[in-house]
């Protein structure tokens, strides 16, 4: 691994890659700024604290918020981190800078098109709108430009993955017998998962939503587009999380003054996510009619298996941080926590993000339970949950990581460590207010995704506290979060405008305590793992999809029914498999 002794900073060594990373970060941060501004307006609007928009425009902003933050910010940042991680860990530049710029360009164009379509909704008479929320499934319909932009964005991510696979292939030729470096391993497994899962959304967008929005086909089967969305909608959760995990596993221990506890364990975790993250999407559809309870039950069981890699991660990362604390002189059962470098915003931000993720794990378990999910389905609980996970575990890790990464690609020192520290703490505090209040509001039955969360002649009741108090907390938390983003952008902007420094950051990454040598080579057999992941997906989705197409009026809803022969084929498959399953069940039970 490269050390950081003067002159070998990332930007000096890989100037082309640094430029790509800077461009990706720039778009990520601009999206973060706009998205956070919309978030502030929503938080104030739906709590009735301050209303600057018409309630009819709420969906437009909510779509902008969801798309710009949960899709554009996270994924552009991911591309920057992954580009950095591959170049750094393989210690070689990308194969072609032109190709890298091609994917940056394609993703950027897609983003601009989709954003224009969304914001077009604010300009009446333009005849353009895309108020379809970041989940964009039918029957809500957007302007074709929105779907086309989205498709370009996704193809851009496919090319970025190709870029990293090409680097890996070239490296492999020079190093036929070495283990894949850990960071590259993480990037490649994540991208394989992404290829498998985006297939669903690509089919949905290209074959159904684009032709439908252009008026080429009359209708679509809404349950089909929903299911194809969630086929991708759960794995995207891990696509958000994996760059954060990459930073937690490979950078956080260093920031804490320690070393990663176990390299093989980290590999196992990424493989488990590759295998398990796609065959669970139906757990977002517990309340969808038209999908048999049995399939929902299977999705729930698969979901519970996903707890395993999460718990392994919690253990490995916390143990690595503890290692740092003890090397810095920490003692005792818990006193070592005090020996951590809490003044470093990169460390503190990631540590707080991890703590919030632990809380999000709890509400996630509630969401995953098939029966208890009914209690919170489509209430404000759900945004409460994912502002802890993607909104903090991921977003705060990305911001904290920027304090360490941006100096490496700009060659300038962080403008202000104290402002950075204030910023990450402010995010944490703001989220404690907003998210706990959202969870509790959800338990009281307050719906999500609405500008006017109140009904005539009906009052929401809370077991503890009052609805008024919850509203105040949401508005206050949302304001703190927005201010935190402003501080972040300010700090990063001044950092990038600063003067070049010999040692902008301490970029040295130590070796793990237990390296890859001891782990089985089969962990690096990516082709085999891809095959297994694909088989699991086929097992989990063939029958539900067949059922949806068959019972939901064919591929195109009311429009074109499935030809009789195909339908009879489905019937045959369904009855055979069902009876085989029943027989098997009879034997087991």
């Amino acid at each position: 691994m490269a050390t950081a002794s003067g002159g070998s900073e990332f930007v000096d060594k890989f100037p082309d890659e640094a430029a790509i990373i800077k461009a990706s970060f720039l778009i990520a941060f601009v999206s973060l700024g706009i998205g956070a501004f919309f978030g502030l307006i929503q938080a104030l609007h739906r709590t009735n604290v301050l209303r600057v928009i018409d309630s009819a425009d709420y969906y437009t902003l909510l779509t902008g918020h969801g798309v710009l933050l949960a899709i554009v910010f996270t994924i552009f940042f991911l591309c920057g981190v992954f580009h950095w991680a591959v170049a750094r860990s393989l210690d070689r530049p990308a194969e072609s800078a032109l190709f890298s710029w091609a994917w940056v360009g394609l993703m950027t164009t897609g983003t601009v098109l989709a954003t224009v379509a969304i914001l077009g909704g604010l300009v009446p008479n333009l005849g353009m709108s895309a108020d379809v929320l970041f989940t964009f499934y039918a029957p809500l319909q957007a302007h074709p430009i929105f779907y086309i932009g989205l498709a370009m964005f996704i193809v851009g991510t496919w090319l970025s993955g190709a870029d990293w696979f090409l680097s890996y292939r070239a490296w492999r030729q020079d190093h036929p017998d070495e283990r894949i470096p850990l960071q590259t391993f993480m990037v490649l497994t994540t991208m394989i998962m992404w290829y498998i899962s985006t297939l669903g959304v690509a089919v949905s967008v290209v074959f159904f939503l684009i032709p439908w929005s252009l008026g080429l086909i009359e209708s679509v089967n809404p349950l089909l587009t929903r299911t194809l969305f969630w086929y991708f909608g759960h794995p995207i959760v891990y696509f958000w999380l994996m760059p954060a995990y990459l930073l937690w596993y490979t950078v956080l221990p260093k920031l804490a003054g320690g070393r990663l506890f176990s390299d093989p364990l980290a590999r196992v975790v990424f493989l488990l996510f590759l295998l398990l993250s796609t065959p669970v999407g139906i757990h977002h559809q517990y309340l969808d009619p038209g999908i048999a309870e049995g399939f929902k039950f299977i999705a729930m069981t698969n979901t519970m298996f996903l707890l395993l890699p999460s718990l392994l991660t919690a253990f490995t990362v916390v143990a690595s941080v503890e290692h740092g604390a003890r090397q810095r002189g920490g003692e005792g059962y818990l006193r070592w926590l005090g020996a951590l470098p809490w003044r470093d915003p990169a460390f503190t931000g990631m540590a707080l993000a991890g703590a919030m993720f632990a809380a999000g794990g709890f509400s996630g378990m509630i969401n995953a339970g098939m029966n208890i999910n009914y209690l919170i389905h489509n209430t404000l609980w759900v945004p409460g949950h994912f502002h802890l996970t993607v909104g903090t575990a991921v977003a705060l890790t990305m911001m904290a990581g920027s304090y360490w990464l941006v100096p490496q690609v700009t060659g300038t020192k962080l403008y202000s460590r104290p402002i950075g520290l204030l910023q990450v703490i402010m995010w944490f505090v703001g989220m404690v207010f907003m998210s706990n209040a959202m969870h509790r509001a959800g338990l009281a039955g307050i719906p999500r995704r609405t500008a006017e969360p109140q009904y005539q002649n009906f009052e929401f009741l809370t077991p503890i506290g009052s609805i008024f108090e919850l509203r105040v907390q949401i508005a206050l938390g949302g304001t703190l979060l927005f201010l935190s983003v402003v501080l972040f952008l300010f700090n990063i902007l001044l950092t990038s405008l600063g003067e070049e420094s010999d040692r902008p950051v301490d970029s040295y990454l130590p070796e793990p305590l237990s390296g890859p040598e001891g782990s089985p080579r089969i962990l690096d057999n990516l082709a085999m793992w891809t095959g297994i992941a694909a088989v699991l997906v086929v097992l989990a989705y063939t029958l539900p999809l067949a059922g949806i197409i068959q019972n939901g009026g064919g591929l195109f809803g009311g429009g074109l029914p499935v030809p009789a022969t195909v339908s009879a084929g489905f019937d045959l498959v369904m009855t055979t498999v069902t009876s085989a399953f029943n027989t098997l069940w009879g034997v087991v039970a």
């Binding site: 003054g257 143990a319 709890f362 460590r417 950075g420 301490d506 040295y508």
Partner: protein, 75 residues
Amino acid sequence: MPANADSQGDSGQADSPVDSIVGTADDGIVRELGHDDFDPVGTLVLVLIYMAILIGMWVFMYFVEFLGRGLTVVG
């Protein structure tokens, strides 16, 4: 052994004071712990505390879902 923390600490202090650049935690390292000298007991304690909280929250949810009917909104 990776490039040692002690030497890094010295060179770090020469041109940039500790605490002014990000990622300088290695400067404060007072001892090197290898794989065998390190027992993550603190991690175990934290995991147990988390488990206890989880169980507590589950009990609370059970209360809200099944016993708390009178307190939350139903029908």
